[in-house]
């Protein structure tokens, strides 16, 4: 099935067939939305994970690597959204309906996150021995820094959740109209963030046998994400005509390899690595395997989102 949105592909009843009353797959959201949703999830989860656990993923010019990566990833997600808009210059209007539109809520959360996390990171900037922004009132460990951290973490939670809620609040596509979508998106976001943390730790030659709490968290997050994805897909089997069509596309149709790929590289492989790290043979885990699985978790997260987005099917009109 093509990912493009081409009006030419639409049926012309006078030249290329008729409009038929049947369940129809959606074709207006695809790769760009999967990438956007993935970036928002990973960026938000990295920040929240680092803030909650106090884990230091490393430093870049004196700034927290978790904060920098979150900012960059969410920034890239925002740029992808902008590029995907039909009229990017009108994007500034997207804040207008926060009471009813989750895209508005998400846009506001994106801006709040980028501003607050950006201010936090800026205060830590170090060029050589110089810290040009050390004079900022939130540069130390005072109340203002804590307040900024709380604001950024709250915004990051919204950034992580809103793509799933945008889909779940659509009454048009039964397979999407399900709160298991935001739940699985959050699960995959944390699973990816923890896998990335593990990969960075491995690259920095950290002793992974001492990272049992990281492995436990990874095991829980990845297991929960996989379970929620499976529950959501299986739930489609017991829905109406359109939800069943979505289920069939994922299990035996055009999206089966995407779905199975998401489970294999996004759930099974990371689970195996996290379980290995908790076992007696943790020290024997090759560095390359850890890094590859950390990268695979990212691919699996993206594939899971792409599969769920593409599987959306409209029910017949009557």
């Amino acid at each position: 099935m093509s990912d493009s949105i081409a009006p030419r592909a639409a049926i012309n009843p006078f030249t290329s067939g008729r409009w038929v009353m049947e369940a129809k797959p959606q074709n207006f959201w695809g790769r760009n939305h999967a990438t956007w949703f993935y970036a928002m999830g990973l960026g938000g989860a990295l920040f929240v994970w680092s803030a909650l656990t106090g884990r230091d993923l490393g430093r870049f010019l004196g700034m927290s690597l978790a904060e920098i990566l979150s900012l960059v990833i969410i920034g890239i997600g925002g740029l992808i959204l902008l590029a995907d808009l039909g009229r990017p210059l009108q994007a500034w209007r997207v804040y207008r309906r926060p009471k009813t539109s989750w895209i508005s809520v998400g846009f506001i959360a994106d801006v709040v996150f980028l501003a607050s996390a950006g201010l936090l990171a800026m205060a830590e900037l170090a060029v050589g021995d110089a810290r040009p922004f050390a004079w900022l009132p939130w540069a130390g460990d005072g109340a203002l820094r804590v307040l900024l951290m709380v604001v950024a973490a709250a915004a990051a939670m919204v950034v992580m959740a809103y793509p799933g809620i945008v889909m779940a609040s659509s009454p048009a596509i039964p397979f999407w109209n399900n709160m298991l979508i935001p739940a699985q998106f959050i699960g995959f976001a944390f699973a990816s963030a923890i896998a990335l943390d593990l990969g960075l730790a491995a690259l920095q030659a950290t002793d992974l046998t001492a990272e049992s709490s990281l492995a436990t968290a990874g095991l829980v997050a990845t297991g929960a994400a996989g379970l929620l994805l499976l529950l959501h897909v299986l739930n489609g089997r017991y829905g109406g005509v359109a939800a069943q069509a979505s289920f069939r596309r994922l299990i035996a149709g055009d999206l089966r390899w995407v779905f199975l790929g998401a489970l294999a590289v996004g759930v099974v492989a990371p689970l195996a690595v996290f379980a290995w790290l908790l076992g007696p043979g943790a020290s024997g885990l090759p560095l390359a395997a850890t890094v590859i699985v950390a990268a695979a978790a990212q691919v699996g997260n993206w594939l899971a989102k792409y599969a769920v987005i593409r599987a959306g099917v409209y029910p017949p009109f009557l």
Binding site: I5, G86, R93, V166, A172
Partner: protein, 195 residues
């Protein structure tokens, strides 16, 4: 609006009249007529389902639109403002009736390029979403009904005031037990179907 399915003969006059009235580009149809074959040979018949925007009382497209491009007039007509639309397609995702079309680029029906008619009637801005406007411009100019209703040769489509209990549409709905499509979506469409 009330659509009497028993009267529709599948002539597509409404589809064409709408396309002509709104000057929509290739692949964009605001009033498609869906078809379905029912029964088994030899007792087979073809059913037709004329559609359009349902102009829902609780319009999910209006709620989902983050830019405020979608609004509802006092007379219940739901409109998309092309100037404000940013092309997020949130409305397309929200509409349970598939009535909204996102137009990434305006194309012509003809390989040689747009015809003078297409050029003269092109009202669609690329990168925005579009849908049936219930002939709002015609209503404002004093015409009694939208182009699709005027063109229907069998009076399958009936246009009127749902708020007025004595209007033709209200009486048809009452007498013929008119049904709103996909009632489970909870959008309370302003279009009723009669069987």
């Amino acid at each position: 609006m009330v659509i009497d399915l028993a009267r529709c003969v599948g002539c597509y006059a409404c589809t064409v009249a709408c396309k002509e009235e709104n000057g929509t580009p290739a692949g964009v149809w605001f009033a498609p007529v869906y078809e379905r074959e029912v029964g088994t040979f030899p007792a087979v018949k073809r059913e037709f389902l004329p559609t359009l925007c349902m102009h829902c009382e609780d319009a999910p497209c209006l709620k989902a639109c983050p830019t405020g491009a979608i609004s509802k007039r006092d007379d219940g007509i739901v409109l998309i403002d092309q100037e404000t639309c940013a092309g997020t397609r949130a409305c397309v995702a929200a509409c349970p009736y598939g009535a909204i079309t996102y137009v990434p680029a305006v194309e012509t029906e003809f390989e040689a390029g747009p015809t003078p008619f297409e050029t003269a009637t092109a009202k669609i801005r690329p990168g925005t979403s579009h849908k049936c406007n219930f002939g709002a411009h015609r209503v404002d100019e004093g015409y009694p009904e939208p182009a699709c209703v005027q063109a229907c040769p069998t009076n399958c489509r009936v246009f009127g005031d749902l708020e007025d209990p004595h209007s033709n549409v209200s009486q048809l709905i009452r007498v013929r037990n008119g049904k709103q499509p996909r009632e489970e979506a909870g959008t309370r469409p302003s279009v009723y179907y009669l069987r």
